[in-house]
Subunit: 252 residues, 2 copies
């Protein structure tokens, strides 16, 4: 399955009222995106956060699974009534929602026959044909259904499972990146930065991000490219610009 | 403009490669959503995070502006080449992208005529007919265009501007919420919780969220409703269930 091909992309679908309402700060987007970028050469091109509502989940799964190579879902695979991710994915693809034999066996062994109640059994129900993503923290597995990878919402559990997703993913081409942090304001360099971006339009993405550190205003210039050579050329031009403007470099 | 009507909703559109790539942890979703909930009675029903790509921004603005009462955008309103939110909103609504006179005057005064360069002037360009959202931190205003409210991406600046959005918003009905934190596992209460949710389906949303604290596993049960009376009834039933199961309450 693994072969090096260009530009593989993904979307992340965060399922959960607790994130939408602002009660809980999401941490999974940054973690998954970073991991996909650095370990798999996969770019996340869209994220959506949606409520625990079946028809909303179904529609988003259908749209995103067509639009992107992979869709990572987080949340909604636990034992309670508001955990409806697996059922909704079954509906989205019109496949049966049924017990996965291996998942059932894993959970039964983990909890013991006596404590394997209905709520826990629910965590073994998945769209027909799903493959398991093993969970070294708390047993209940994630699963992959077509191009949808379903993971839990609790960050520490998700983090412990992420490496187990790797075998299902086709690797993309590595994206190199470089950051230069400066003590300056964006508008001091915005014109020249725009010209450099224009020159390297097809090869390098240049992002400019203001920040505050120890009471000073700064700008981080982030360059990203699949070509290490083009990335270096851009960074040489950036350093020239910075020297010409006599800007203090904080970090390179 | 202000009148009490039921269920006003909103979407948040986070514009920025730095959030998508995982380089920067988003903090604006939780902040805006919390503020809308508690101060305006407005629920956030969807969040999208998208790249700094014009056609993607245009399409998302068109879709979300039809689907929700309000759309809050964050990011892309600074002076650099990758700041294309205002231009994209103009294209989405097919209106002119032009200098806003008052914004121009504010910025010119703030920077002084000599230092008011092209990058800074760009921050005064907006979709025709936009109204300003004043910025007490760094002068460059946000703006509202039809039902789209555009704010900056830097959390501290956004936070300082949020109260200035209020006058443009129709208030919704207040959503009350209550949280009970327990030392238990979800599957211990999932069945009964499901039955209570079923009984109050139309009136109260019950969410169940596992957590880890000091090495112990817990569950936060969050109830939300526009009716304080129904919320109280549900919570009485929850307390009964908790006592029956002899579960330790951590916080109520």
């Amino acid at each position: 399955m693994k072969k090096k091909i260009k530009k593989i992309n993904a979307a992340i679908l965060i399922i959960g009222n607790e994130i939408l309402s602002g009660r809980t700060q999401d941490k999974n987007v940054a973690f998954i995106s970073n991991w996909l970028n650095t370990k798999c050469g996969i770019s996340v091109n869209e994220v959506r956060i949606i409520p625990d509502v079946e028809k909303v989940i179904v529609k988003n799964i259908q749209i995103l699974s067509k639009k992107f190579n992979y869709v990572f879902t987080t949340g909604g695979i636990g034992p309670t009534h508001d955990d409806i991710t697996a059922k909704s994915i079954s509906k989205a693809f019109k496949v049966k929602y049924e017990y996965h034999k291996e998942a059932y066996a894993i959970l039964e062994k983990y909890y013991g026959k006596k404590k394997f109640n209905d709520g826990r059994k629910k965590m073994a129900k998945m769209p027909m044909g799903s493959k398991l993503i093993y969970n070294p923290s708390s047993a209940a597995p994630g699963f992959i259904t077509k191009n949808i990878i379903s993971l839990p919402g609790v960050p520490s559990i998700l983090n412990s499972m992420i490496e187990n997703c790797k075998k299902y993913l086709i690797k993309g081409i590595k994206i190199h990146s470089n950051t230069i942090s400066l003590y300056t304001v964006e508008s001091n360099i915005s014109k020249q930065l725009g010209l450099i971006q224009k020159k390297y339009k097809k090869f390098v993405d240049i992002g400019s991000y203001p920040f505050f550190r120890l009471g000073k205003i700064g700008v981080a210039i982030v360059t990203r490219s699949t070509s290490l050579k083009k990335l270096k050329s851009v960074n040489i031009e950036l350093i020239k610009l910075i020297k010409k403007k006599k800007i203090v470099i904080l970090k390179i």
